[in-house]
């Protein structure tokens, strides 16, 4: 509980209507896309960097934990106030500060929807490449905190590769710029460390984005397979032929069935895998490359291939993939979406492990994967009202992550650690690794007030620096 005096001070910074403190209001801020909940002490709506800095200074002065919140679409508990304190709602800071086409840069406030950025650039012939599936409902600030990915990572990279500057309010209230419009500015790449720090290093208020000229042409293809291995071999063949497709998305049998049941796209219900492939670039040679890819699909036993000849047809081919989450969501009241990533060539092995684990716990698991970069998305279906169900799902999740690491991969490709995978960190990292990560955290937030209780498990040594070995 915050004292009335502190609430008044907050009201003085942002205005009385922009401070929420009633229990019913706070209960709408105790959750995000993850399954846990924790009540904050107050929610503050900010509309400028100054306001953010003032609120953070107050929190720092009073030793109150705080965290930045964009749209809270993350799946790992990144925006849950596990230790109470202030939730600083950034969604109203969404202005476009500058569009600088000559320098291929755009500066925006961090609360803007990611998809809105590309929508604004579209008529100018440019776009912002990272397109996480949540792009229309998530903020760029949130994307930065999570180092979000999406279906175009294999060719274009992740958020880290497209954000080259950020205005950040540090956890004691100082405002700094990390990076800027120029690349490789001298000094440690603090921005590289800040991106993906899940809102625990400070609050990003503005971002400088690298923007790209839109590709001249796009060719979209779809192939249906009777075995996941054949689909995976096709991906390998495409890469071996020297092509880096813009998209390589895979869906497995349960996902296909769910999609077919909800959308009737003519997918055979007994198909084992569907591969969605997109090539982009100059129009010259694109048809050629597409023909090559289709040939590769057939050589790898694709049951059926489809190619889009128009924008409408392209939309039709994407419908299944875009509707996959919706379709799978109707199979059960809830799902746990897992984010393990393995080396691309190990994808079929990883999927086999997932099925094994699903059988072991008697759980249905549908799979969508970013086949180009080995990022799996198993959807473990359950009912969150039944706690035994939920526990089983979480156990299965842990085992899947361990299996991914055993195959040379990682426990999270896009979604982050948050609360969800804190305990899994030691599957991947040694004590020394975690200690170095703790040092970086302490550089930004020595007191530990910025979004505490996330990412690093509690038992990692706190405080101090490098000790003589």
């Amino acid at each position: 509980m915050l004292s009335e005096g502190l609430l008044d001070e907050l009201r003085g910074i942002v205005g009385a209507e922009d401070v929420l403190w009633k229990r019913a209001d706070l209960q709408t801020y105790e959750y995000d896309g993850y399954v846990e909940r924790s009540l904050p002490d107050a929610v503050v709506f900010v509309e400028s960097t100054d306001e953010v800095a003032s609120v953070v200074r107050l929190a720092h002065r009073e030793n109150i934990p705080f965290l930045p919140r964009g749209c809270a679409t993350n799946l790992t508990g990144a925006t849950i106030a596990v230790r109470g304190g202030l939730v600083i709602e950034m969604a109203r800071m969404r202005r476009v500060v500058e569009i600088d086409l000559a320098n291929e840069r755009m500066v925006v406030e961090s609360g803007i929807y990611t998809e809105e950025i590309s929508a604004i650039l579209e008529p100018l012939g440019y776009y912002y490449a990272p397109d996480p599936s949540s792009a229309k409902a998530s903020s760029i600030g949130g994307n930065i905190a999570e180092n979000a990915g999406g279906p175009h990572c294999f060719k274009y990279g992740v958020t880290l590769n497209h954000v080259i500057g950020a205005e950040v309010v540090l956890p004691h209230g100082e405002v700094v710029w990390l990076g800027g419009k120029a690349v490789d500015l001298p000094g440690f790449d603090l921005l590289g460390g800040f991106i993906g720090s899940e809102g625990t290093f400070g609050i990003c208020t503005k971002a400088v984005l690298r923007i790209l000229r839109k590709a001249e042409a796009i060719k979209t293809l779809l192939a249906i397979y009777d075995s996941i291995d054949d689909a995976a071999k096709t991906v390998t063949a495409i890469v071996a032929a020297g092509m880096i497709p813009a998209t390589l998305e895979m869906m497995d049998k349960l996902a296909i069935q769910a999609v077919e049941d909800s959308q009737a796209l003519g997918f055979p219900r007994d198909a084992a895998a569907v591969l969605l492939i997109e090539l982009d670039g100059l129009v010259d040679g694109l048809e050629d490359m597409a023909a090559d890819v289709l040939a590769m699909c057939r050589r790898n036993n694709a049951r059926e291939v489809r190619a889009a000849g128009s924008e409408e047809e392209r939309t039709a081919l994407w419908k299944g993939r875009k509707g996959a989450v919706a379709a799978v969501a109707r199979l059960a009241p809830n799902f746990l979406l897992i984010d393990g990533t393995v080396p691309r060539t190990k994808l079929p092995d990883a999927l086999r492990k997932v099925y094994e684990i699903g059988d072991k716990y008697d759980l249905r698991i549908a799979n969508v994967a970013h086949a180009g970069d080995g990022n799996l998305h198993p959807f473990v279906l359950f009912d969150s009202r039944i706690s035994a169900d939920k526990e089983l799902a979480m156990k299965a999740a842990m085992e899947i992550l361990a299996a991914c690491v055993a195959l040379g991969g990682t426990i999270t490709g896009e979604h982050g650690i948050g609360i969800e995978k804190m305990e899994a960190m030691s599957i991947l990292f040694t004590e020394n690794d975690l200690r170095a990560q703790q040092w970086l955290k302490e550089v930004f937030d020595p007191v530990g007030l910025c979004n505490p209780g996330k990412v690093l498990p509690a038992r990692v040594a706190v405080g101090g620096g490098a000790h003589a070995a």
């Binding site: 000559a102 320098n103 180092n147 990915g149 990572c153 992740v158 880290l160 590769n161 540090l170 405002v175 700094v176 710029w177 990390l178 800027g180 120029a182 690349v183 490789d184 500015l185 001298p186 000094g187 440690f188 790449d189 603090l190 590289g192 460390g193 720090s197 390998t236 890469v239 020297g242 092509m243 880096i244 100059l282 010259d284 040679g285 694109l286 393995v342 970069d373 080995g374 040379g408 490709g413 982050g416 650690i417 995978k421 960190m425 991947l428 020394n432 975690l434 200690r435 170095a436 990560q437 040092w439 970086l440 955290k441 302490e442 550089v443 990412v455 620096g465 490098a466 003589a468 070995a469």
Partner: protein, 451 residues
């Protein structure tokens, strides 16, 4: 050196018997010669040595190919040189997965050749490839002309294994393209100049060899035409892999003028084109058309293919990769690296030319016009060079960029700050240094703010 060299050598021999050591190394690190050098052969040996050295309070620096020893300020101390040349094996290489992991001492050229055999490309093309090591390239954030296509080191380094100043081993990232587990400490090591620890191993992403590679050599009479041409290209849908401008002096230094028959006032733009043959051809045509648009009587902008000029593409880039060494050995005694928002690099170059004339400094330079880099080589008297460098630094910073010294700090004088004006994040940079290297033993004094 706080201890007797003989004692040190003896202890090293006990600690790491496999590692050769030298009590009289000849290597000059920005003006300072260390007392002892040692060549660890394994990561754990490196860890042991660093741990021991930090207990002994010895200041250390890692040596790769020795191609960039002049970067930054001179070290405030240097006792022990960690010669990484014996850590030169490729730990893991998966051509199907497009990933390789190599120890820090492997040269870029070795990696390029190795993956080429599998029709893959190492997406790094820095200067002096035959000697520059992967560890050094990462520590110095040394990119090449095809950065625009390949991406920067921030995008290419998938994982790092480092030895921290206290000798402990830590791993960051991994070998997958996507990895957001934990805090990405490894990113800070890129460009850190070894001041946070020693890079022991790096995992790099690879790319497939393109179906077709072409190189256009475009002679450009002046910066203004160059700027217009590049702006035209960047505003189109074309996807050049490089847009590297060489000043006339650099053109001459590399001998390209002879292939081109160009005059000594013409600059040269190297435009690499990669991809499907039809796409490459289309770009060649379009760029020729853009050049024709810019022609105005006597001032011709001419685009020619390297193959037409009897210059194989690989050879052209190999020649280019020797430029820095040639330039800095050719009487230029100062090398400066600038980065600015990419469209402003032309102004920066024009301003630098103006300043060089005003301060009687001989200037040659290259620019990555699609990235915003300008690398300048200057010759002249120390006082003139100092005026010149201060001016260029002001120009770069005015354009929201920065300049740092690549080589020749001693010429510029003790007071010259090799890294320029401090930005708002300097407090954090200092805090990182203090956290990771509280004793200040890793390459001390060389980095920003004398860290």
């Amino acid at each position: 050196m706080p201890h007797d060299v003989g004692d040190v050598l003896a202890e090293l021999a006990l600690l790491a018997p496999g590692a050769a050591s030298d009590g009289n190394p000849q290597t000059n690190v920005a003006g300072l010669v260390p007392a002892v050098s040692v060549s660890p052969t394994t990561v754990s040996e490196l860890g042991q040595i660093v741990g021991w050295a930090s207990r002994r309070g010895l200041a250390m620096a890692a040596l790769g190919g020795g191609t960039k020893l002049g970067i930054g300020n001179p070290p405030s101390r240097l006792d022990l040189l960690l010669d990484m040349s014996a850590m030169n094996s490729v730990t893991e290489y998966d051509s199907a997965d497009l990933v390789l992991t190599a120890q820090a001492g492997v040269t870029i050229q070795h990696l390029r050749s190795m993956v080429r055999e599998d029709s893959l490309v190492l997406p790094l093309d820095p200067q002096s490839r035959d000697r520059a090591t992967i560890g050094g390239v990462i520590a110095c954030a040394d990119h090449g002309p095809r950065r625009r296509q390949y991406g920067g080191l921030r995008d290419l380094v998938l994982g790092l294994k480092v030895v921290l100043p206290d000798g402990s081993l830590a791993g960051f990232g991994g070998r997958t393209l996507k990895n957001v587990a934990g805090y990405d400490v490894g990113r800070l090591f890129v460009g850190s100049l070894g001041t946070m620890g020693v890079i022991a191993e790096a995992t790099i992403r690879l790319l497939p060899v393109p179906a077709c590679e072409e190189l256009l050599l475009v002679t450009v009479p002046g910066l203004e035409q160059g700027r217009r041409l590049v702006a035209r290209i960047l505003g189109s849908v074309l996807i050049p892999s490089s847009l590297e401008l060489l000043s006339p002096a650099c053109v001459g230094l590399l001998g390209f003028d002879q292939h081109l028959g160009s005059s000594d006032t013409e600059s040269l733009l190297l435009i690499a084109l990669e991809g499907h043959p039809a796409a490459v051809e289309r770009q060649v045509r379009d760029i020729s058309a853009f050049c024709a648009e810019l022609d105005s009587g006597t001032e011709m902008v001419e685009s020619r293919r390297a193959s037409e000029l009897g210059l194989p593409v690989d050879e052209a880039w190999d020649t280019f990769a020797g430029l820095r060494e040639k330039a800095l050995g050719n009487g230029s005694c100062v090398g400066l690296r600038c980065t600015v928002p990419l469209a402003r690099v032309w102004d920066l170059a024009a301003a630098a030319e103006e300043r060089s004339r005003a301060s009687s400094v001989a200037l040659s330079y290259t620019m990555s016009c699609g990235t915003g880099y300008l690398e300048a080589y200057a010759a002249g008297s120390p006082a003139d060079l100092r005026t010149f460098a201060e001016g260029v630094r002001a120009d770069a910073e005015y354009r929201e960029g920065a300049m740092s010294v690549l080589d020749g700090w001693s010429v510029l004088g003790e007071e010259f700050d090799a890294w320029g004006g401090r930005r708002t994040d300097f407090g954090l940079i200092r805090a990182v240094k203090e956290k990771f290297d509280p004793q200040g033993l890793m390459n001390p004094g060389r980095y920003l703010g004398g860290l």
